[in-house]
Symmetry: C2
Subunit: 118 residues, 2 copies
DNA sequence: ATAACATATGAACAGTTGTTCATATGTTAG
DNA sequence: CTAACATATGAACAACTGTTCATATGTTAT
């Protein structure tokens, strides 16, 4: 049976470097989680929600109004953001207010914006 | 005809805040580009490629060998990374070496990892 | 020229994702 | 209790994505 993966017969890099790279790679699980995290940032609706929350905590229907989207769509996306621990929420009567969970969001979006604007 | 979007009859937030948020939102185009950028980070194969390139520039087939993936799959992903200006390449004979384009990658992945590891 | 190697790319397919619609849950006021 | 409002959620569907496979392009050596 043939190998599933084809690549060059010999590594071009020094074996020493290859070993070094392998050792320095984060755990497979962390890499997966990291990709999952960035998937969350990879949607402009969610990015817009995060930018809204930069200014102030806000309830679902106000976010929907601000972004001209349905309550359902926003609610679905807030759930994704919450599962990624990027936002948190508090209830006040009928209303649920969402707010940013921590400051990584600002740094990550800031760096991303820098890159995009270059 | 009904409105496509349903939300609360009145904004709960002060109109003043709503205006402020609207003014502070980046351009629609930048938000879109930003989401596109993070989509690129949102795949564990591409994340792994970037981590490999943290250590050293490397040719396609060595990356494929290191990650136990096909040459084709890696080449497709390198193209995505290149289009996002996250990596660049140089040719040396038959071999094409890829390397990180700038340091935003390190900061973004670093912050993401911090968030994930919390 | 041809052969061998490294990389790139187009088509196809399965798997994933974001929105809508309908409806359920939770809360408050009467 | 019921009505009204705010939010959450499951199903469905179209749109998008990552890999494989086959093949094309580019480079070097002979």
């Amino acid at each position: 049976m043939r190998e599933m993966v084809e690549h060059c017969d010999e590594l071009h890099s020094h074996p020493q470097l290859v070993d070094h790279v392998k050792l320095d790679m984060p755990d497979e699980e962390d890499l997966y989680d990291l990709a999952e995290l960035f998937k969350v940032f990879g949607d402009s609706t969610r990015i817009r929600i995060l930018y809204v929350l930069f200014e102030s905590e806000m309830c679902v229907c106000d976010i929907a109004a601000l972004l001209s989207m349905s309550q359902s769509a926003i609610s679905h996306q807030l759930r994704v953001l919450k599962q990624a621990r990027l936002v948190r929420s508090r209830r006040e009567g009928k209303t649920v207010y969402y707010f940013l969970a921590d400051d990584h969001v600002r740094v990550i979006l800031g760096q991303g914006m820098e890159h995009v604007e270059e």
